[in-house]
């Protein structure tokens, strides 16, 4: 007869605790992920009369040139501050002094070294509007 392996109460409680902690962490992760993803699914719409140069919105800015319209994040790639408009060609982070080229999002002055995150920006033929999603370019929801 095979000897039955007993699980002690201590091991059981410990396993339950580890499982519960893992489960709660997963729930925690799901809550956070949902909140973050929800934001990236929101669409922002603009008419086709966006002027040349920078049009600044809270979480992103649009940069219109003769040939293109692009949307970039206004979150500094260095430490996460919200950057503001510096002049007609650049944006400025007032926390640590980084400066970015508006047209490409590339850093002009440190400490930031990464370019600004470009967001999805497409023209909706049906409505004649520009649609911006806070979704990094290249990623889909």
């Amino acid at each position: 007869m095979q000897k039955q392996k007993n699980i002690s109460r201590k091991i059981f409680i410990r396993s339950l605790a580890v499982f519960s902690f893992g489960f709660m962490s997963w729930i925690w992760y799901r809550i956070s992920s949902f909140q973050t993803e929800r934001e990236s699914r929101i669409e922002f719409r603009h008419g086709n009369d966006i002027p040349l140069g920078i049009s600044y919105f809270e979480k992103y800015y649009l940069i219109r040139t003769e040939n293109s319209l692009r949307a970039f994040s206004t979150t500094c790639t260095h430490a996460g501050c919200r950057i503001g408009k510096n002049n007609e060609n650049s944006l400025q982070c007032n926390c640590h002094g980084s400066r970015f080229e508006a047209e490409t999002g590339k850093p002009l002055k440190g400490p930031a070294i990464k370019p600004l995150q470009e967001f999805e920006c497409r023209f909706d033929e049906k409505t004649g509007q520009w649609v911006v999603k806070l979704q990094p370019i290249g990623k889909t929801t």
């Binding site: 956070s32 996460g80 408009k85 007032n94 440190g110 400490p111």
Partner: protein, 897 residues
């Protein structure tokens, strides 16, 4: 003995118990503070605490000061124990772990308290903290969402601050001393200290939209370190390493422990240095600022503002939709400002600084700037990141600020620079002969001159930064100012001067009535000199500086009601960001932009290239399809123009709103090749002021004035000017474009340099300057006024005689003025009659008088005009094709040369 008593009194308890007492006060005041505080409108609720609720303000101060003391004495407590090596007494690893974690939560409680103020620095601090936590591998997102939350909401921070963080700190206290209650005596002393601090010094609060972001004093060291590294994760690693080292410290061998503690102490000292650097020398955009500059913009650590608990409740409440600044409690009825600077929306502090949360007059007016917009304060007032930073940057390079051209030419004639194209800045003037000459005679007209008094600028009060053009006191504002100065004003009567873009000509006049005198010329006035006798027949007036001016003929644009700003855009006036050498480089607008002959260079409002023009279009509610003129030189939009479907140009006066149709250039202007080299101004300038010359000498015994510093000097350069005439301009050639342009005497002067410095000798220059006369006339000047006029050709005033002998004609010239012994040319000449000029002959290297070949060609036509009327058919044909007309000439025609 006394020292020992004092020491005993000060050391009433250990740092740990002082920290513990502070924590208790902090917790209790925090509970009370939750009543008026609203995290959904954090900044507004804290502002209202400061503005309306002195009791809540005291509680907030108690909360703030007890937190500061708790933080400082907790650090001292740690230092105390580490220096006494008591860490080895704690055998229980769990207990030591909780103490180590307590350091983390101490930091979290402090920074979350800072975040919860809801001002701009607090909001940015939350974003930085979230970003730092997210950079932690694997758990980053979880940590960030748990302690900061997702998005812009402060709910999680608030909950963690009031609940989790506080509870964990109490657990840490209880865990190692088995009580949270300090000794009664210590508690009372600590409470009294905190109460005194709270009654006297206000807890700081910044503006919600400030561009000046500086963290709390205990974290600015980290902010500085973050500025120095491109990898913020290093900071997290550093903090983690420090905590790990502290956690394992009790297990190290004694000699390693001592070494580790020394490293920790060194790190602490390094952090203190970083903190001091950040506090004292970092300004807006974390740029390096001098101490004096930083004082204005920095958030003060100790804000002396005693709480008045017994104030009556008669304070007015600021309406819900207005800005929360204490200024608006007293100055709520301030009128006079336009919608762009509406104090209800933008408050007063944005321009005037001061203290927006102090309720007493003297406290609120502390560090106030009475006249904002001067260059000494423009970065903190008009030119902050939220307002007009880009224009402020441009203005620093503008010619109205640098005076570069004037300096270059002056230095050139003094032999202090070899090039007329060198760029200079008025603020860099030294004390050489030329610099002193400029300081004594010219350095008063630039924007960096300080405006110190309120009221409209008086005639000799120039500069004032933005105020030079944009500040205007109407009669009511002037009366209001006088009442305030006499202290008879009541709030209801206050009228603010306007800050606007309706810049009238008189703002330009004070400076531009000098040198080229275009402001005087534009309105038709020619200067006859200080104290000059009035000419009985002419209309004359005396300027406030005693110069007599005589009416000649106003510019046709002025006659039509146009102001200076109708042609000159902000880029012409406030600069385009480039450091130009001369005015013609800086000015974008040209006659042909509006009086074009071909297709109009225009752009639709929807495609305007610059934000400034877009803003103007938005303010004027312009139709996006409307087209405006673009300057052909720099493609700057002229926002007061419109181009209709027939390509007609209309211009609207900015001051009066009157509409004008701009006529294209007349056909005669473009007919044939005869006049294709002529600029519009060459024909259409009625007159320009022309002096004969001047002599400059340095008088050591004559008191003078340094216009740059505003101080009197013992000696001064003096200028003795000759006669001045209002006559059609002298013509010359722009050798870069080969165009015939208008000129006037620029620097026809002798300088006694010897009088300033021995062995320097004397110099003489005959330099003409390019001019845009601003005396435009509708009709072009007559043919004879150029071809038969010695002044126009550059020979000076006198008689130009054409003689015919047989079949040969010849020209001769009898000058009116004597020859100048320095160059044997008539005093008023630019070049010799049928002679080549010797360079330098102009204040620009591209400008020259007519050469002999050109002089002969002009005079050849002049010979024709001796017989043929300029409106005759043959002259009209000559204009179309000169060479062919010459071939058809009769035998009677006698040409010169």
């Amino acid at each position: 003995m006394r020292l020992q008593k004092l020491k005993k009194l000060l050391q009433f308890d250990t740092a740990g118990w002082i920290a513990s007492s502070s924590l208790l006060i902090c917790a209790v005041s925090g509970i009370l503070l939750a009543i008026p505080y609203d995290f959904t409108k954090a900044h507004q609720s804290v502002s209202e605490i400061l503005l309306y609720n002195p009791a809540a303000s005291l509680v907030r101060n108690l909360h703030y000061w007890s937190a500061q003391l708790f933080f400082i004495f907790s650090i001292l407590h740690v230092y105390d124990h580490l220096s006494k090596s008591t860490e080895t007494n704690i055998r229980n690893r769990r207990k030591w772990l909780i103490l180590c974690l307590a350091i983390v939560f101490l930091g979290y409680e402090m920074i979350s308290g800072f975040i919860l103020k809801g001002d701009a620095a607090g909001i940015q601090a939350r974003r930085i903290l979230a970003s730092l936590l997210e950079s932690v591998p694997f758990f980053g997102k979880l940590l960030s969402s748990a302690f900061i939350g997702v998005g812009e909401n402060s709910q999680i921070v608030y909950i963690q601050h009031v609940a989790t963080g506080t509870i964990l700190l109490f657990i840490a206290v209880y865990d190692h001393v088995k009580t949270i209650w300090p000794k009664r005596k210590s508690w009372i002393i600590v409470f009294l200290i905190i109460l005194i601090l709270s009654l006297l010094f206000r807890a700081p609060l910044g503006q919600a939209d400030s561009a000046h972001i500086k963290g709390p004093w205990f974290f600015v060291g980290i902010q500085e370190m973050l500025h120095l590294t491109s990898h913020p994760a290093y900071i997290i690693i550093l903090i983690f390493l420090l905590l790990t080292v502290i956690y394992f410290l009790p297990q190290f061998r004694k000699n390693y422990r001592i070494l580790t503690k020394r490293i920790l102490l060194g790190t602490g000292i390094f952090y203190l240095i970083m903190t001091m650097v950040a506090l004292l020398f970092r300004g807006e955009n974390w740029e390096w600022k001098s101490w004096s500059e930083n004082k204005l913009s920095g958030e003060q650590l100790l804000i002396f503002d005693p709480v008045d608990l017994f104030t009556s409740d008669t304070l007015k409440i600021i309406p819900e939709n207005q800005r929360r600044e204490s200024c608006l409690i007293c100055h709520a009825s301030m009128k006079g400002l336009s919608e762009s600077h509406n104090p209800a929306v933008m408050g007063c502090v944005a321009c005037h600084k001061g203290d927006p949360f102090a309720t007493g007059k003297s406290m609120a007016h502390r560090n106030m700037i009475l006249v904002p917009g001067n260059f000494s304060n423009v970065r903190q007032t008009c030119g902050t990141q939220n307002c007009h930073a880009d224009i402020t940057d441009r203005m620093q390079q503008s010619l109205m600020t640098t005076q570069s051209g004037i300096i270059a030419v002056d230095k050139f004639v003094f032999g202090e620079t070899a090039s007329l194209n060198d760029t200079f800045h008025i603020q860099n003037l030294g004390h050489s002969a030329a610099d002193t000459h400029l300081r004594n005679l010219c350095a008063g007209c630039h924007l960096s001159m300080e405006k110190t008094k309120t009221g409209n600028a008086e005639w000799l009060e120039r500069g004032g930064g933005c105020n030079a053009c944009h500040l205007h006191y109407n009669d009511q504002a002037t009366e209001s100012m006088k009442r305030m100065q006499a202290k008879t004003s009541v709030a209801a009567e206050e009228i603010h001067p306007t800050i606007d873009i309706q810049v009238s000509n008189d703002r330009c006049l004070s400076c531009h009535s000098r040198s080229g005198r275009i402001s005087l010329s534009y309105e038709g006035w020619n200067e006859r000199g200080e104290g000059a006798a009035k000419n009985g027949s002419a209309q004359t007036k005396v300027l406030p500086d005693n110069r007599v001016v005589e009416f000649v003929q106003a510019d046709v644009h002025h006659q039509k009601g146009m102001a200076c700003i109708d042609c000159h855009t902000s880029y012409d006036l406030m600069g385009d960001g480039k450091h130009h050498a001369h005015k013609e480089d800086a000015v974008s607008v040209q006659c042909v932009d509006c009086h074009t002959t071909g297709k109009v260079n225009s752009i639709a409002v929807s495609s305007l290239p610059d934000k400034e023009s877009q803003m103007i279009a938005w303010l004027r509610k312009a139709d996006p399809k409307t087209k405006v003129v673009l300057t052909s030189k720099d493609q700057h939009p002229l926002m007061n123009t419109r181009v209709d479907s027939l390509d007609r140009i209309f211009l609207t006066d900015k001051l009066s709103g009157k509409d004008h149709e701009s006529k294209p250039a007349a056909s005669v202007c473009t007919k044939g090749k005869g006049h294709s080299r002529l600029s519009c101004e060459a024909c259409h300038t009625a007159w320009v002021p022309q002096c004969i010359g001047c002599h400059n000498t340095f008088e050591k015994e004559t008191a003078g004035f340094d216009l740059l510093t505003g101080k009197t000097t013992k000696s001064t350069w003096v200028e003795f000017a000759g006669n001045s005439f209002a006559e059609p301009p002298v013509l010359g050639v722009n050798s870069a474009t080969n165009q015939v342009v208008t000129t006037m005497p620029g620097m026809v002067m002798s300088i006694d340099k010897e009088s300033f410095e021995k062995e320097k000798g004397k110099s003489f220059h005959r330099l003409y300057a390019p001019t845009s006369g601003h005396t435009t006339q509708r009709e072009g000047r007559s043919c004879k006024s150029c071809h038969n006029d010695p002044l126009a050709i550059g020979f000076g005033r006198g008689e130009l005689i054409y003689s015919v002998a047989g079949n040969k004609g010849s020209w001769s010239f009898e000058p009116r003025f004597e020859l100048n012994p320095n160059d044997n040319l008539p005093e008023d000449a630019w070049t010799g009659f049928l002679k080549e000029a010797q360079p330098p002959s102009a204040t620009r290297d591209w400008l020259r008088p007519f050469n002999v070949v050109e002089q002969k060609r002009i005079l050849e036509v002049g010979a024709c005009l001796n017989c043929h009327d300029e409106k005759s058919k043959v002259m009209d044909q000559a204009l179309g094709n000169y060479e062919q007309t010459l071939k058809r000439r009769s035998r009677k025609c006698v040409l010169s040369f």
